[in-house]
C-alpha cells in the first residue's frame, strides 16, 4: 500500500499522479495499480512516467472504469502498487530518438530523463504526436535537445533518424509498426507494447502473442519493451 501525494488534471481525460514509493525502477517498466477493493477485479497496468526522490509518477488517460476510479482518488488516499514489472528501455551510450503517440509518451519521459542523466553529452530528439491536444510538451523540452510536436497529423512523417541513433517508441501500435517500417534496418528500435493483462508477471499467458520468430512473447514479462526484431518481421 502506497499513499497518493497528488493527482491532477493535465488535459482532457489526462491526469498526473504522484505516489510515495521507494525502490528500484527502470524506465519502461510498469506497475499493476488499483485504488479500489474488489470491483473491477483486475488491477491496471500503468507505466512509470517518472521516478525520483521516493516519488513515483504516472501519467494516465481516463478511458474506462478503472482509470475513472484512479482519477477520482485524492491525495492522502491509498493506492496498491504491484511491481515494478517487466523489461524496460535499454539505455546505452548513443544518440536517442524518442517517438511517442498520445498517452504513449508516458514511459518515454522517464526514459528520456535517464538517458540525459546518464549521458548528458549525447543527443536526444523527441517526437510527440497527439490527435487533438498536446500535453506535457514542456516537460520534454526541459530535458531533450529537440522536441517536435504534431497535433492531428502523423508524427511518423516528421521523424528523421541518423545512423547509430537508437529509437525508443510507445504509442498506438499502428504508429509503431509504421515507424519500424520507415526506419532503416541498421537502427536499433525499441517498442513498448500493450496487451490486456491479468497477472502482469508472466503466469497467466493472457498477454502472450506471437513474435517475429514464430515464438510467443509475453508482453508483461518478456516486455513491455522489445527490440523490434522480436516483434516485427
Amino acid at each position: 500500500m502506497a499513499i497518493i501525494l497528488s493527482n491532477e488534471y493535465v488535459a482532457t481525460d489526462i491526469y498526473h499522479m504522484k505516489v510515495a514509493y521507494t525502490g528500484n525502477v527502470a524506465p519502461g517498466q510498469f506497475f499493476m495499480v488499483r485504488t479500489w477493493l474488489k470491483e473491477p477485479l483486475l488491477s491496471r497496468p500503468l507505466s512509470v512516467f517518472n521516478y525520483n526522490e521516493d516519488v513515483i509518477e504516472f501519467l494516465y488517460q481516463k478511458v474506462g472504469e478503472g482509470t475513472r476510479l484512479l482519477k477520482n482518488a485524492k491525495a492522502g488516499e491509498r493506492i496498491e502498487l504491484q511491481g515494478p514489472y517487466g523489461q524496460g528501455f535499454p539505455i546505452t551510450r548513443s544518440n536517442y530518438v524518442a517517438v511517442g503517440g498520445g498517452i504513449g509518451i508516458a514511459p518515454l519521459y522517464f526514459a528520456c530523463k535517464r538517458i540525459k542523466d546518464k549521458y548528458p553529452r549525447k543527443h536526444l530528439t523527441v517526437y510527440l504526436g497527439f490527435s487533438d491536444q498536446p500535453y506535457m510538451v514542456e516537460a520534454f523540452e526541459k530535458i531533450a535537445d529537440d522536441v517536435h510536436v504534431d497535433v492531428g497529423g502523423r508524427i511518423t512523417d516528421l521523424v528523421q533518424v541518423s545512423k547509430d541513433d537508437v529509437v525508443i517508441t510507445c504509442g498506438p501500435e499502428i504508429m509503431m509498426a509504421a515507424l519500424c517500417r520507415q526506419i532503416p534496418e541498421e537502427n536499433t528500435v525499441y517498442v513498448s507494447l500493450e496487451e490486456h493483462m491479468a497477472c502482469g508477471v508472466g503466469a497467466c499467458l493472457g498477454c502472450s502473442r506471437e513474435g517475429a520468430q514464430g515464438k510467443n512473447v509475453r508482453i508483461c514479462k518478456d516486455g513491455p519493451v522489445f527490440n523490434r526484431e522480436v516483434i516485427y518481421r
Binding site: 477485479l41 491479468a198 497477472c199 508477471v201 508472466g202 503466469a203 499467458l205 502472450s208
Partner: protein, 302 residues
C-alpha cells in the same frame, strides 16, 4: 505442536490443503519472486499437451463483474520440454507438483501420459474440461461415458495417480464424477471454467476469436461450492475444490462441504500473496477453534 494443516490427498501428503490452479501459476517461477513456493501445499502446472502449443489468437482476457473470461487455449511448451527442462527444477520443491495434462484426442492424451512416466511427478490432473480448445478438452468431460473411457485408459497407461478435473458445463456433474471414480481416478478436482462469452458492443464484435471462452473468479464461487458439495456427497475419492476462492473463508467453506484440498486460480493475479494469506487464515482458524487438524471440519456440512 504438529501442523494442523497437514493433509493427505489420495495417499499423498500435502503440508497444507492450499494449492494453485492450473494455468494461473505458470510453472511456479513467476511467483517464486514473491514467496518461497515450498510454503504451498502444492501447485498445478499450466495445462500440458503432447506437442507445444501457441494457444489462441486475438484478445485472450476479458474482465466481467467479479470475474475474468480467458481464452488462452492451452499455450504450453509441450510435454517433452516439461519433462526435460522444467521438471528438474520443480522436482526439488517439497510442495506437491501436479502435472495438468490435456490432449486433442485420446492418443495425444495417452502419449503425453506415457512420457510423464519417465519422471516422478506425484499426481496428474487430467484436464477433460478446457472450454478453450476446439478439439478434445471439454468434449471428454461432458458425458459420463467418454469421461470414464478416457479416465480408464489414462489410469491404465500412467504409472502415476490420476485426478480428473471436471467441467461445470454439465447437467449432472455427479454422474460424471462417479463415472471417473469407477474408472479408477484417485481424486477429482472441480470446477474448471464456465463457458461464457463477451461482446464489444461499441465495436460490434465478439471479443474472442474462439467466440466462447471460460469464466472464473469470485463470481463463480457459489456455483463451484454447490458442485463440490454435490460431488463430495456422491463419491469416496478425495476432491480438490476450485473456482473463485478468494479468502480463507472460501477455502474453509469448500472443505466444510467436503473438499480435501483447494486450488487458488484467478486471485493469484489480483494478489500474488493470496494463497499464502489463505494458508495463514486457515492456520489462525485452527488455532482459534482449537482444532488439532483441519480434517476435523472437513465434510461437516455434507
Amino acid at each position: 505442536m504438529s501442523n494442523p494443516l497437514a493433509t493427505t490427498f489420495a495417499g499423498i501428503p500435502f503440508k497444507n490443503p492450499v494449492t494453485t490452479a492450473s494455468g494461473t501459476f505458470g510453472f511456479g517461477d513467476e511467483y517464486a519472486n514473491f514467496y518461497d513456493l515450498t510454503e504451498l501445499g502444492g501447485l498445478c502446472t499450466k495445462g500440458l499437451t503432447l506437442e507445444p502449443r501457441l494457444g489462441n489468437k486475438g484478445q485472450r482476457l476479458y474482465e466481467t463483474p467479479s470475474g475474468l473470461i480467458n481464452s488462452i487455449g492451452l499455450e504450453n511448451p509441450g510435454i517433452d520440454h516439461f519433462v526435460e527442462r522444467i521438471w528438474p527444477h520443480l522436482k526439488t520443491l517439497p510442495s506437491v507438483t501436479i502435472a495438468n495434462v490435456s490432449g486433442s484426442d485420446e492418443n495425444s492424451y495417452l502419449e503425453a501420459l506415457r512420457r510423464l512416466n519417465a519422471i516422478d511427478v506425484p499426481l496428474i490432473e487430467l484436464n477433460i474440461s478446457c472450454p478453450n480448445v476446439k478439439a478434445g478438452g471439454m468434449a471428454y468431460g461432458t458425458s459420463p461415458d467418454s469421461a470414464a473411457n478416457l479416465t480408464a485408459k489414462a489410469v491404465a497407461v500412467s504409472r502415476h495417480p490420476i485426478m480428473v478435473k471436471l467441467t461445470p458445463n454439465v447437467s449432472d456433474i455427479v454422474s460424471i464424477a462417479k463415472a471417473c471414480e469407477e474408472a479408477g481416478a484417485v481424486g477429482l478436482s472441480l470446477i474448471n471454467t464456465i463457458q461464457a462469452m463477451a461482446v464489444d458492443v461499441h465495436q460490434k464484435k465478439i471479443v474472442f476469436d474462439n467466440i466462447y471462452a471460460g469464466l472464473s473468479g469470485p463470481a463463480v464461487f457459489p456455483i463451484a461450492l454447490r458442485m463440490v458439495h454435490q460431488v463430495c456427497k456422491a463419491v469416496d475419492i478425495p476432491v480438490m475444490g476450485v473456482g473463485g476462492i478468494a479468502t480463507w473463508e472460501d477455502a474453509l467453506a469448500m472443505m466444510m462441504v467436503g473438499a480435501t484440498c483447494i486450488q487458488v486460480g484467478v486471485m493469484n493475479f489480483i494478489d500474488p500473496y493470496r494463497p499464502i494469506k489463505i494458508i495463514e487464515g486457515l492456520k489462525n482458524y485452527c488455532e482459534e477453534e482449537g482444532l488439532k487438524s483441519i480434517e476435523e471440519i472437513r465434510g461437516i456440512l455434507l
